[in-house]
Homo-oligomer: 595 residues x 2
């Protein structure tokens, strides 16, 4: 079985030394989020993840979820319910929720650390609270006051869980096609009818009630995406005074059999005139969904990061233990029958790739998380706007890149095990199977790429990119005289300039050819991701040098940064070449002549 | 469920138009391998794969193999036994085996087409005959005459199956560590004792006897890889006169639970003084294993190709059927509720990547297969040596690249399905899980890279590379005046030159630093793979232009080649940058400071 030990030292180094969150939290008015409290919460969270969730990871994979076709009920894997009870008792579900609804009111940047650890420990289990979190956000920003009091408080406490019901059999990416309908009734409620698929945690036995947030069309709705409204549709009816009534007219029709996350209940949900309440304005449901999308997408990015971290830990352990062959430059451990495979350059290539992507990705993601806090509590309007622009820009990068890197890292880690990696017993193949969902749900990588290139860069005229480039410039200026950092700041400044020029060039061509955006998007996403990591790796080295960490720690950061600059940053060469080749090579072949 | 239709048109185009096998087969004395016969065999093989094997692919994944701990017996998935009987009846197991041992004596290049189709149809099933094939080769080249008559003929007929027993729990790559021992007995047989793991088809119910080829140490064996001998150890004892006796002292101890190829029996085999016969010379077992390694490794490369082909077929169908969103340049099918996703540039990027890797990879692999025939039957010693050098050089490229491309193509194809790709029902996730073994067994990708860089390039002083570069040069000269081909031959000639210079540069540095080889190997493997494909894509376009194929077919080849040159060949930029960075960034970090 694969093991997991929460990387508290790295998490704290990232939060405190690299991002300096202590000062930021104080400025933003998070008075209860001092360093000691933050560290204590991390320690307690780590304990819960390591001792309660991690041991259930393989159990969940083997048991999956049970489905009873007669009742439509779903049974979670052994131990899941008890773990959820402990999670609720610890107040973890409301870690970042406002105190007025029963939450702990902690910063989102800290919440992401907890998400990372949960995902490392047990991704499938983590999907139950993750979706509740999405529903909380929707109600917090768009619900009426009574809806918040009745539903939000119970989601924050964890008494109930939530879902997001968007997808239908014929519509995923293109929500404009959705058909589920909502008929107004005399009492102000709505009768919701339709079939939703891929509903995570749509049915389960962890909590007595489930709050479905459902996208549906009102009778007078315009066609397409501008005619979609959002509804609360609970499993058991709930009156406005909060009292719980009879079973609502909805049912889980089946659960999907999937490549991975077996213990996550992926449900077909049938609504048959189920009683619901409208959330927010009619026909504005999609806008409400978009509000919470940043948080959900970054949450999935954290899944990629969490799996990568666990995969790396296990590959590293195996590479140190497995004795096989000798180093090409002579035996490194002549007293042993063979050298541990960690002496092999190619094994190091895989381990260092994971290490560079995980540690750089952590800084990237936590920094994005900090923008939630800055956007909500920043001192000036400009500061809040900058944070919001930056968050919008970083969201598809975190989601798109960290999930693809999650697939890559779980791949490398499995590969380090050789044939043993393919055997279920070692648990590495589960990590690879679980990782595979992350590039699909909450918008595929292609959709993230279009969001970054089309919406966040073109439509918003690069507002987020400007903020990011400003950060890079300030950092390079600040360290202009730092000879020890020049090996990074030099190439970084050049790449930042190239990033800007590349963006302008795409924009110029897009004005003439609308296909330019779609043709460039994927490679622009990854180009951006690698340049962003180049920035973070330079900052990580600077932060380590300035810290009181031991010399070996500082050296490890520097060597990993060198590896990143030498062997991963050159991936930008490929992405730039692909972008420069334009839409032609992608579009010339007629669809009917593909085979 | 994913479907499969044998791409006979493409296979024939590759064999006949691109490789011109008809003339080569004639020159080599394959008198029965005229075009009509070849085409008829392909058609019959396609029918068998499509109608018998393909329908069992998902069945096998769901059933896996049964294991009875009381008897140590293994039951294959429903239908597998009947399919094997049909395979044997059709004589497919001996397609390329010499007629004197009951084979059909067909060229290996044709055998590879059949392997491709089997792997597309049902990879897990295909592992049973694949391993028999390996055992056949070992006996053909190293067995005594009576061993060939007794064992080889029954492997060729398919009456019995074979295995290759190499790996032990503590030794995979490094066979020098192996411990299984063989004690000589008075009657000339040997008592073989030890535990072997990861034995494909080690036990099953397809045939009444199984011929294990086992690596073991004689009592007087020197330590390390120079003290290993090869033995025939049948499941039921076989006398020298061919008569079958009692059960031998060996037993399947368990079967592994794996990420994929569930229907392939991966066995732990315990030998407890089992009766065996020495094959070839004492202590020369590893050399005997290497003889058949080219064929087994190219066989696994074909698994990557077969899975890629099937994945692409299904992704293409889905991309044409799935209606979602509109093209960014305006609706392409305004009468439909949305455009099929094949209009999206990013979906095309994924489909074209698969198409370019599959069709280019097919030419690369079949051409490597042709070297078996040329090495055995070439007109002159020089021709046979060139073919052998080229085969040795191409083997790690075919194995390493086609399997990693198999992982990549099944990834892209699944991604084209969005969330539906993750659901077992569609069958795409099975292809991805099955593909994942191919980069691990028969030597991981890292081992292929070391074989190419260390042995095939450095030790043999680039003999195979020289032959390949000669082919490229002749092709470019031949088409020097061909303006329609200049867009490919120009960059190809430049890349070929860079390939040569890069090889020389690595060799120069390796003379000073033995770690250079290991640090460059992985990237050199892929650099070589992409330049090799650049050559094949140029030849594919030339062959299409010169053929009587319809214009739309010629255009499709040209546009796919353009895609390859614009978007895949630039991957060489990354690999070259990684090689140029040398061993430093991989080796500087001390093993104890990795975390």
């Amino acid at each position: 079985m694969s093991s997991y030990s929460a990387p508290l030292h790295e998490i704290r180094f990232t939060l405190h030394d690299v991002l300096g969150v202590e000062a930021t939290f104080r400025q933003l008015g998070y008075e209860d989020a001092g360093r000691e409290t933050v560290d204590a919460i991390l320690e307690e969270g780590a304990r819960f993840c390591e001792s309660v969730l991690a041991p259930l990871n393989q159990v969940g994979d083997r048991h999956g979820v049970g489905y009873d076709a007669d009742t439509g009920s779903v049974t979670t894997a052994p131990g899941f319910k008890e773990a959820y009870a402990q999670f609720t008792e610890g107040g973890w579900g409301g870690l970042t929720a406002p105190a007025e609804y029963g939450g702990m009111g902690m910063p989102h940047a800290l919440g992401l650390s907890m998400e990372e650890m949960i995902n490392s420990a047990n991704l499938a289990w983590g999907n139950f609270p993750l979706l509740s979190h999405g529903a909380q956000n929707a109600l917090l920003h768009h619900g009426e006051q009574w809806q918040r009091e009745v539903f939000l408080t119970r989601l924050v406490s964890g008494e109930w869980t939530g879902t997001m019901c968007l997808t239908e059999p014929h519509c995923g990416t293109d929500l404009g096609l959705l058909r589920t309908r909502a008929e107004p009734r005399a009492d102000g409620t709505y009768a919701v009818t339709g079939t939703k698929i891929f509903i995570t945690a749509g049915e389960h036995d962890l909590a007595p009630n489930i709050v479905h947030l459902v996208l549906a069309r009102l009778p007078d709705a315009p066609a397409g995406s501008k005619g979609i409204s959002l509804f609360i549709v609970p499993k058991f009816k709930v009156a406005r005074d909060g009292s719980v009534g009879e079973r609502n007219a909805l049912r889980c029709g089946s659960v999907e059999h999937k490549m991975g996350i077996h213990a996550s209940a992926t449900c077909v949900m049938n609504f048959d005139g189920a009683e619901g309440y409208l959330v927010g304005q009619p026909h504005r449901g999609l806008a409400a969904m978009f509000t919470m999308m940043n948080s959900a997408r970054i949450g999935v990015g954290m899944q990629g990061l969490g799996l990568s971290e666990r995969a790396l830990q296990n590959a590293l352990r195996y590479a140190r233990e497995r004795l096989q062959s000798r180093s090409l430059s002579g035996a490194k451990f002549p007293d042993k029958p063979a050298d541990p495979i960690i002496v092999q350059p190619d094994v190091r290539r895989m381990l260092l790739t994971c290490k560079a992507l995980v540690e750089g990705g952590r800084a990237l993601a936590y920094h994005a998380g900090l923008q939630f806090d800055l956007a909500a509590h920043g001192a000036s309007e400009q500061a809040r706007k900058d944070a919001d622009d930056l968050l919008g820009f970083l969201t598809p990068i975190v989601k798109g890149c960290l999930t693809e890197w999650g697939v890559e890292c779980t791949y490398h880690a499995l590969q380090c095990f050789g044939g043993h990696g393919y055997i279920a017993e070692h648990g590495m193949e589960q990590l690879a199977r679980d990782a595979r969902i992350t590039t699909l749900y909450e918008g595929t990588t292609g959709i993230q790429a279009l969001d970054l290139m089309g919406r966040k860069t073109m439509q918003l005229q690069g507002a987020g990119l400007k903020v990011f480039l400003g950060m890079v410039q300030r950092f390079c200026e600040q360290h202009a005289g730092n000879a020890a950092l020049a090996e990074f700041t030099g190439p970084l400044a050049a790449k930042a300039q190239e990033w800007q020029a590349l963006t302008m060039a795409i924009a110029g061509r897009a004005a003439r050819d609308p296909e330019e955006i779609g043709a460039a998007a994927y490679d622009y996403l990854f180009y951006s991701g690698y340049v962003a990591l180049a920035y973070w790796w330079a900052r990580i080295v600077a932060a380590a040098d300035a810290s009181s960490q031991p010399e070996s720690f500082k050296a490890a950061k520097r060597e990993t940064a060198r590896f990143f600059y030498a062997r991963l940053l050159p991936r930008t060469l490929l992405h730039k070449a692909a972008i420069d080749s334009g839409p032609g090579p992608l579009l010339a072949l007629a669809a009917e002549h593909f085979d």
